[in-house]
Amino acid sequence: MASAAPRSSLALPIRGEALALRRGGRLLVDDLNLSLEKPGITTLMGPNGAGKSLTVRMLAGLVEPDSGQVTWAGRAPDRARASSVGLVFHRPVMLRRSALDNVRYGLKAAGVPRGERRERAMAALARGRLEHVAASPAWVLSGGEQQRLALVRALAVEPEALLLDEPTANLDPASTLAIEELVSQAQARGTAVLLVTHDLGQARRLADRVVFLNAGGLSEDTPAVTFFDQPRTPQAQAFVEGRLVL
């Protein structure tokens, strides 16, 4: 399962070219170029309103840009390849069924044959250390467990890319750590991860590359080491130093 055998890529590279998005007369994303090409963890950072969530939704094929285009492996995103790009939101969206059935639902949507679903779902739950709640209704799980379940559900189908929109924003340190472990595991298995976060510590722990957005545009796209040591733009510098970016 974790074999490194090259498979033909369905989703990678994910490219956003000259993306622009307007809502209610305001330009929220402006001429943004961003791509996710190879395994690794890219953190997408920047102040609120910088357009991070919208960018993730555009790259996931959920929101159409007003201009510019998103491509997965060279073609516009389509439903048939949706399961190659995993997505986890800031607030986990749980289906009103058991934890196990939540994972099975994702596997079914990805076209995994019925006979394999249970076993794969249990294996995925085990990786997220959720096997003890497999039979519990998802809505009785704690916030941290729900978010872990959302991530496990996305990872169960072994996506090529994983887009995470502030997955740990509402979580305590222990739950955050559990999420970060899962993200690192996914990266180790060769998944390309795009992680939106406000948590500088988290970015330092995980990131190979940092993309810094400010006011709808890209202001920096550098290896993590460079970003944290010598941020190029004043906004990024202020951000790294922990000053408030306005």
Partner: protein
């Protein structure tokens, strides 16, 4: 006054002994209304969910019409179904007029808009929360409709109970297309109307009590289910 208390006494005797005539009428009522709700659910659930999920031109009008049809006057539905099923009507050859099936059709017409409109509302609320996640899974429209109907299942049961309450308590449509024929199409509401006009208050009261218990019971069940759903949603 004495007459009234005697009628009450007789009514309770009919209920407690499960009188044959009374039971026949009650069971036919339940059978007709349950079938009507089943038919209405088969049409109304997917229809309501589809309108909730799919964006199309004129959708606002469709929703307004669906909501307005919730208030269909039963006698008008009765008249329309009567015209459809009467000998000279387009479906006259089916010979359904004055049969329980005609009553099922009339009640289904009455209840379908209620189920469709309430389903649309329920599913639309869920759709807002689930749309992006389900699309991220690669779920298409049909899958979205099926998933959201399942996710809304608890609320939709209360929707169907509301439809059942409306159907079983309705008199205008069933009397027109059923004809209130003894042992054939006599249901609780039509029997109550007839027995009261004949002055046979005991059977009317007995049926009235049973109908009241059924309707209150169904409504109580509906609000109880709603309350437990709220608790779950808060958790």
């Amino acid at each position: 006054m004495h007459e009234l208390s005697a009628a009450f006494g007789e009514a309770f005797r009919l209920i407690s002994t499960m009188d044959g005539d009374l039971m026949e009428i009650v069971l036919l009522s339940l059978r007709v209304s349950l079938m009507a709700v089943a038919v209405a659910a088969l049409i109304g659930l997917p229809l309501g969910a589809a309108v909730a999920v799919v964006r199309f031109p004129g959708r606002g009008v469709v929703i307004a019409v669906m909501n307005a049809l919730m208030g269909l006057p039963p006698v008008v539905v009765g008249l329309a179904v009567y015209l459809l099923l009467s000998r000279a009507g387009p479906l006259g050859d089916w010979g359904l007029l004055y049969t329980p099936n005609a009553m099922v059709i009339a009640q289904a017409v009455l209840v379908t808009p209620i189920i469709a409109a309430l389903t649309r509302q329920t599913v639309e609320d869920l759709h807002g929360a689930y749309d992006e996640q389900l699309r991220a899974f690669g779920i298409g429209r049909r899958g979205m409709i099926a998933t959201l109907l399942w996710e809304a299942r608890v609320s939709l049961v209360t929707v169907m109970l509301a439809g059942f309450g409306r159907a079983v308590a309705e008199v205008g449509a069933v009397i027109m297309v059923g004809g209130n024929i003894n042992h054939v199409t006599r249901v609780m509401t039509t029997a109550i109307a007839l027995e009261t006009s004949k002055g046979a208050l005991d059977l009317a009261l007995g049926l009235g009590i049973v109908l009241l218990v059924i309707v209150l019971g169904v409504n109580g069940l509906a609000s109880l289910m709603k309350a437990t759903t709220m608790v779950r949603a808060d958790a």
